[in-house]
Amino acid sequence: MTAPLFRASGLTKSFGGLAAVQGVSLELPTATIQAVIGPNGAGKTTFFNCLTGIYRPDAGQVELAGQNLSGMAPHQVCHAGLARTFQNIRLFPEMTVLENVLAGRFAHLHTTLWAAVLRTPAYREAEAHARGIARELLDFVGLSRHEKQWARNLPYGLQRRLEIARALATEPKVLLLDEPGAGMNPNEIDTLIGLVDQVRARDVGVILIEHHMKLVMELAERILVLEHGEPIAAGTPAEIRDDPRVIEAYLGKGA
């Protein structure tokens, strides 16, 4: 039996006396799409922060393609193949759209200080290659026309897409999307659904936190539901839709 693409088991993180995430497990056997849902404050983003090394979990293990990611710094997690976007978009505002994606190529550009100073042929080639990849990714998310603009000047929906392109530039095996559809209109949601589907088609697993039910139901093969930091349900969209505990968590008792 081969190791699953991604596995998080028993992740726990407390802040003082508050257990923000408690015993959360999630597994992606292959490059599929899973969703993490739950009411506000359920610990979804904390869960992502534990996965990506921004927080150090108190307990639990994270594995990616058989490699143990526990205790790694954020950049090492990224090198291992786990990339992410942020709930409150965190682009590099005073860099151009193209530079944002190029920044994501850092680990794959092995140019040294000396090569940069001397502008060696190998350096020029690597730089040109990175620009090629970055442009291809911008094309993929539909931002080619905007490559010279400052990231801060992009409209909101496009900033979300740029964040996905930047994360893809790190060549992830699994991509974590933290509320990619937040604040989008129905048209933009439809485009986003197509985009995430194409990401999976590139053989990248996707875990997404989302409130937008259309997005979750259309994309996710499995859904994990958190409430007060604890997993209360997991299953296919159809199972989750009918789960009494999920309905209770979202709508309250007696609904």
Binding site: E94, M95, E99, A103, G104, A116, E127, W150, T170
Partner: protein, 398 residues
């Protein structure tokens, strides 16, 4: 609008300072009291002396305001293409050398110091401008470069040109050591640590006994200092050396800036958490940035010691650190041309004020401060601190 605000503020500063200027301090030591008397003539004289500076400031502000109507300089994109040519750097050095043959000794020494400040400002810009980490004790690394050269040349044969890489390495190493503990933390810890280090270093230099020469400092031996060769005076050689090192240093920094390292620094400045999540080793990159900054200060220090043939603890003062920081901020954080312009202006303006308006000698710093305030009010992003990315990418090599 901003112009009006800056004029208002200038007026406000003048109003505040007027009583002090009009007043004449008469300390009476025997009684231990200070009498404040009014001296109308002296106050009027001050304002009369101030007129040229006000005129200069207005001209400057006017140039900024109507800069769109001025004849345009070569477009940055064209400059960027020019920069990529292999002959661009030697040509620029030669172009800077030529006037050195005709300048007088005073002009040459000013140009030499200006080139050293350019190196300092562009070097500091790596940490402060690109990576966005405040540094308050930058002069320490300048002093390390100067002192490593001065101390070593007492014992071994070490002419200034051989000392350049040694000074760079020593300062970069020291910068690395200082940054190592402080840059693991987020925030402005480096500012405090470097400030403390610079203050401590000055005391060490003052109390270093025979090794550092204490307050008296060290004189660079004749064969090791910058001497005249091939019929050139020592001042001409010093200018040529400073210009060449400055051009090569700035070119190196510019190239690093456009590589993945420069992008990583800017990414860290823009959002450190996101930079880490995108695979950029933030701690290592911040330490590298500061270490490089320190190294370029070391280069500048060696040039300084070789030219003035003398170093003492005054090479390591807080005022110097702040002056270089002001150059970077005035020019525009993160902008290499900005740092160059900032360095030249902030070095030359006080010198010109001293030379052209000697009667204003006492108010030099006041006027200097007013110019700084006026510039920052009219252009808070610095003189050349905007649209860097647009300009940069339009001429980017494919």
């Amino acid at each position: 609008m901003k112009l009006k605000t800056s004029l208002l503020l200038t007026g406000f500063v003048l109003l505040l300072s007027a009583p002090l200027l009009w007043g004449r301090l008469d300390p009476d030591y025997s009684l231990g009291t200070v009498a404040l008397g009014l001296d109308l003539a002296r106050g009027l004289e001050f304002f009369r002396n101030l007129l040229p500076a006000i005129a200069l400031g207005l001209l400057f502000a006017g140039l900024l305001r109507f800069r769109h109507r001025l004849p345009r300089l070569p477009r940055p994109a064209r400059l960027d293409q020019l920069k990529e040519r292999s002959w661009a750097i030697p040509a620029l050095i030669a172009l800077l050398w030529l006037p050195g043959l005709f300048l007088g000794s005073k002009g040459l020494s000013q140009a030499t110091f200006a080139a050293q400040y350019v190196l300092l400002a562009v070097g500091l810009n790596i940490t402060v401008g690109m990576a966005g980490i405040l540094v308050l004790g930058y002069s320490a690394y300048f002093a390390i470069g100067a002192y490593v050269f001065a101390v070593l040349q007492q014992w071994i044969w070490l002419p200034w040109w051989m000392a350049l890489p040694v000074g760079f390495a020593a300062s970069a190493l020291m910068g690395w050591l200082v940054a190592l503990p402080s840059l693991r933390l987020r925030g402005d810890y480096l500012a405090i640590v470097t400030l403390g280090f610079a203050e401590a270093l000055r005391e060490i230099l003052r109390n270093g006994g025979a090794i550092t020469g204490g307050d008296k400092g060290i004189v660079i031996a004749v064969p090791h200092r910058i001497n005249g060769i091939l019929g050139l005076t020592s001042q001409q050689v010093a200018w040529m050396a400073a210009a060449a090192v400055a051009v090569l240093g700035v070119a190196a920094i510019d190239r690093i800036y456009h590589s993945r390292l420069g992008r990583a620094w800017v990414a860290i400045r823009e959002d450190e958490v996101a930079a880490g999540a995108m695979g950029i080793p933030t701690v290592r990159m911040k330490i590298l940035a500061f270490s490089l900054s320190a190294g370029f200060a070391g280069l500048s220090g060696v040039l300084y010691a070789g030219f003035t043939v003398f170093v003492d603890p005054s090479a390591c003062t807080f005022e110097e650190s702040v002056l270089v920081l002001a150059m970077v901020i005035l020019g525009g954080l993160g902008s290499i041309p900005g740092s160059i312009v900032g360095a030249i202006l902030l070095f030359l303006i006080p010198t010109w004020l001293r030379d052209w308006f000697p009667q204003m000698q006492d108010y030099r710093l006041l006027i200097f401060g007013m110019i700084l305030v006026a510039v920052m009010l009219t252009r808070p992003q610095g003189l050349l601190g905007s649209n860097r990315h647009k300009a940069e990418l339009e001429g980017a090599p494919e």
